[in-house]
């Protein structure tokens, strides 16, 4: 329950739309507002400086609240810049501020209708707020693309599924079998969910396994693996996937988990995940990065050494690059 964290806590503040306008106005207080009420255009150089500062704060990643405030100011001064709106959409989306995120991604599409990543974001956000009435053209735009074909088919199937047309959803998901696993993992996972609902457990398991080959940390898939193994009587496998799934929930479900205050907790969970689920190589990298960020280079190096050990087939070049990066060049 609830949406917002403590003011002084790690969750960035968000300005309501109306107040954001006021902020933009106050920003140009030195110049004043025009008689019409619109903010007076600022000097190009001042504007560029503000924009550069906003982008710098965003890319540094330490203060999302400040980044949002600065980027909103930039967006308010010169609306319609796809890059700024995209950054704001991403930031608000990370904070689950879906209404703000959606507003900015839709602004991106106004400027650049072919920005498929933003098309996907708009579809996802519209789905999250149950405003899917007119999104099918956007979904088809994705399904017709190469890079986002899997996402397009997934959302098309989801639309059919949510409309109660299970057969059509199943047919679309079946069609997605030909996609490379990294593109089709959401289709495979949703297929697993539908098959599980129908009690077709062996088929569901096959689809969940296919989904995991495409993406190893997708919670729906991990949960599906646990549930289908349980239904099939594979108790050990069920318990393993339950544990792994639960660890990922620990990592992602608490809104404060990504805060600096909880860095130690995050490290502990990542340690547990890398032990329980070494196939998820991203976990080693995340953990090593976390240790590095907090100056614990020895732990970072140890983590990378474990990654290398767990993956004997890793190419030498990658192995050496990682060791150079995290272990100061130690072979």
């Amino acid at each position: 329950m609830g949406c917002f964290a403590q003011d002084s806590g790690p969750m960035p503040r968000r300005l309501p739309h109306l107040l954001r306008g006021l902020a933009a106005c106050l920003l140009v207080t030195a110049l004043g507002c025009s008689e019409s009420g619109a903010p007076t255009p600022v000097d190009d150089a001042d504007y560029e400086r503000l924009k550069a500062e906003a982008v710098r704060v965003h890319e540094r990643g330490r203060n999302r609240a400040k980044a949002i405030d600065l980027l909103e100011e930039v967006a308010a001064l010169r609306p319609g810049q796809a890059g700024i709106h995209r950054r704001l959409g991403q930031l608000h989306g990370e904070l689950k501020q879906n209404d703000d995120a959606l507003r900015h991604f839709e602004a991106v599409l106004e400027a650049r209708p072919d920005d498929l990543q933003s098309v996907l974001s708009v579809i996802s956000l519209r789905t999250a707020i149950n405003a899917t009435g007119d999104i099918e053209p956007l979904v088809r735009q994705l399904a017709d693309s190469d890079e986002f074909r899997g996402d397009g088919l997934y959302h098309l199937a989801l639309l059919r599924y949510e409309a109660g047309d299970i057969d059509a959803a199943m047919a679309l998901l079946d069609k997605a079998r030909t996609l490379p696993s990294t593109l089709g993992y959401r289709c495979a996972s949703l297929h697993g969910v539908l098959l599980l609902e129908e009690g077709r457990f062996a088929e569901a398991l096959e689809r969940f396994e296919a989904a995991r080959r495409g993406r190893a940390d997708y919670k729906e898939t991990l949960n599906g693996l646990a549930l289908t193994h349980r239904r099939l009587g594979n108790e050990d496998e069920a318990r393993r996937w339950e544990t792994i799934h639960r660890l990922f929930l620990d990592l992602t479900d608490d809104v404060y988990m990504k805060s600096r205050k909880r860095a130690d907790d995050r490290a502990v969970v990542l340690e547990q995940i890398t032990l329980a689920y070494p196939e998820w190589t991203d976990g080693f990298r995340d953990l090593a990065d976390l240790y590095s960020k907090h100056g614990n280079t020895a732990a970072a190096c140890r983590t990378i050494e474990r990654l290398v050990e767990e993956n004997p087939s890793m190419p030498d070049a990658m192995r050496n690059t990682l060791k150079n990066e995290y272990c100061g060049g130690r072979p």
């Binding site: 949406c3 503040r13 933009a24 009420g37 619109a38 949510e162 969910v193 609902e197």
Partner: protein, 593 residues
């Protein structure tokens, strides 16, 4: 031009441009009609004038958001339903320190209100002298005959000390100060049920957050806007099981029963808890009453009872801890019933906005499957924030429909979101008989002008006017409730029976009794469950719709304790009061249509 004025002009100009909503929320109903609403708001004519108050003064203590519950039960022994509304708003001076009281304020001083039913859907205020006119910060309740003297007693969960009120049989209550359940932590509700099979009613009390007044934080999306803080700011706290010694004295048996939530996060903080609702029902059809606990943002718990008071956590195995996406949801309330008419009890939980409510279909053998999307009960609920919820047979056609009370927790949410509102329309879903539901047009479903009136929290069901169909009461946070009279069943004119089942040993109700009916080509189950919904208690009388069929092929009652009796000879369109074990049946006709 003065700076302030400059700002305001600018503010208005930008508001016009930026205030455009990015998308409209699709909760378009599937069923539309311009005929009479099926549930008519009769609050004013019912004699019920209760108004809830949360007592807040703008400092945004989270407990102000929770509303409080309602009970529909016969408290004065005349076999007519009475209504009890809990009241929040006041922190008792004998429980809270000076600093705490200074922070929150003196409170409203308002108390619960007890209304005695007159049998025709109207009520008289009987609060004064009832013993329930005590001001404290009540949240939810459980109703049950804890001392087996044939009347219904009341447990009240509170922010502050929980209370037990013992009934003298005439609707006068005495606080039981030595009952052993005066938990000072923040609890939301509970359920009376026979946990250990000894014939008396035990209590499961559901606890929410470890949130002392002095831990209160100032939260908000900006310096200018203050909101209620996120639930993750506080730890959850352990629910309790209290075993009854038979005389209404309770012992905390949580640990012995295997109910301790042992799961902790990496920082050693309890990972479970944050409970907002509990359902006591026989979920695995083995004759023992199990538990389902809806937790806010943490995994739900399904607890299987071995019949002797020991519970096994089967949440993970059953698939009810998370939704199909593998995520825990912010669960607020629970509905239960045989939604797909296959003879077992399905479970539905209400959730936060941007989460669907979740229907867990009972597949038998303690396995459940999230069928929210497939059943039609999920997608329309993504936008609103659901609390109380119940399955009920709207038009007495033999299948269970569904009512969901909605309302946001942030009373100023419109200040920072274009996509939602504090007041939200409740939802009525119609079952097509197969377990597939359609959202009913609000204008067809109820007569409520919900655009201006509802912040739904508690929900209770019962036949308030004695006409053989289910009516509803919805509590709203910090405002008046809705009393909704069912006219859909009157219009439909279907046959029905009403069952009032006595419990063992003189107990007023047979909590846990399972009724299985075969009629009109259908076989379906009804159960006297405890808890469920949110913070509320529904009548234990079972109103069983039969559609157009006038023949009951079979009707079996599995009583608490395991005995099963057959009652295919019960006359339709009558209310049957059946003594424990089916030995005596007193039948009275229901009004003809």
């Amino acid at each position: 031009m003065k700076p302030v004025l400059v700002s305001l002009v600018c503010f208005a100009a930008l508001a016009c441009r930026e205030g455009e909503a990015p998308g409209t929320v699709d909760t378009e109903p599937a069923v539309t009609s311009d005929v009479t609403p099926w549930l008519v708001d009769v609050t004013q004519s019912s004699g019920i004038d209760f108004v809830h108050t949360h007592g807040g003064r703008g400092r945004k203590f989270l407990f102000e958001t929770m509303g409080s519950g309602v009970a529909i039960a016969d408290f004065d022994g005349d076999e007519l339903p009475d209504v009890l509304f809990l009241q929040s708003g006041t922190l008792p001076a004998d429980e809270f320190g000076e600093v705490e009281l200074e922070r929150f304020g003196a409170g409203s001083g308002e108390t619960a209100k007890l209304y005695i039913g007159l049998g025709d859907g109207t009520f008289r205020d009987a609060t004064s002298g009832s013993g329930l006119d005590v001001a404290f910060y009540a949240q939810g309740l459980a109703v049950g005959d804890i001392d087996a003297d044939g009347d219904r007693d009341i447990y009240v969960a509170a922010y502050g000390r929980d209370r037990l009120f013992v009934n003298d049989g005439r609707g006068h209550f005495t606080p039981a100060t030595d009952a052993g359940i005066d938990d000072p932590r923040w609890t939301i509700g509970g359920a009376f049920f026979d946990a250990d099979g000894d014939g008396d009613l035990d209590l499961y009390s559901v606890a929410y957050l470890d949130m002392p007044i002095l831990s209160h934080q100032k939260c908000g999306p900006s310096d200018d806007i203050r909101t209620y803080c996120h639930v993750d700011w506080w730890d959850g706290t352990q629910d309790h099981l209290y075993l009854n010694d038979g005389s209404g004295h309770f012992t905390n048996a949580t640990e012995a029963a295997g109910l301790m939530g042992s799961d902790t996060d990496v920082a050693g903080r309890p990972k479970d808890g944050k409970g907002l609702a509990v359902l006591a029902a026989d979920l695995d059809d083995d004759g023992h009453v199990d538990l389902f606990v809806a937790n806010d943002s943490t995994a739900n718990r399904m607890l299987r009872n071995d019949g002797a008071g020991r519970f096994e956590d089967v949440s993970r195995r059953s698939g009810t801890d998370f939704n199909a996406e593998g995520r825990s949801e912010a669960c607020m309330g629970i509905a239960s019933g045989d939604a797909d008419a296959d003879g077992d009890i399905d479970v539905y939980v209400t959730n936060f906005e941007q989460e669907t409510n979740t229907l867990y279909r009972n597949d038998g053998d303690s396995f459940f499957t999230d069928t929210s999307v497939r059943s039609g009960t999920g997608v329309p609920t993504r936008a609103p924030l659901g609390f109380g919820s119940s399955f009920f047979d709207l038009e007495n056609d033999g299948d269970l429909d569904l009512y969901v009370a909605n309302g946001h927790i942030m009373d100023n949410v419109e200040l920072y979101s274009d996509l939602t509102t504090y007041i939200q329309a409740d939802m009525l879903f119609a079952n097509d008989g197969s377990g597939r539901f359609e959202l009913v047009d609000p204008g067809r479903g109820t007569s409520l002008d919900q655009a201006t009136s509802g912040v739904g929290r508690g929900l209770a069901m019962g036949d308030l006017d004695g006409d053989g169909d289910v009516d509803l009461i919805v509590t709203n946070n910090n405002t008046a409730p809705f009393v909704l009279r069912n006219v859909a069943a009157d219009e439909a004119g279907h046959h029905r029976i009403v069952l009032a089942l006595d419990g063992p040993g003189g107990r007023a109700d047979a909590e846990g009794a399972r009724v299985t009916i075969k009629a009109g080509g259908k076989t379906f189950a009804r159960e006297i469950v405890s808890g469920g919904s949110y913070a509320s208690h529904s009548s234990t009388e079972l109103v069983i719709g039969l559609g157009n069929t006038s023949v009951i092929e079979s009707l079996s009652i599995r009583w608490p304790g395991g005995e099963t009796t057959q009652h295919a000879d019960l006359a339709i369109d009558q209310r049957h009061h059946i003594s424990y074990g089916g030995r005596d049946v007193v039948s009275t006709p229901l009004p003809s249509r």
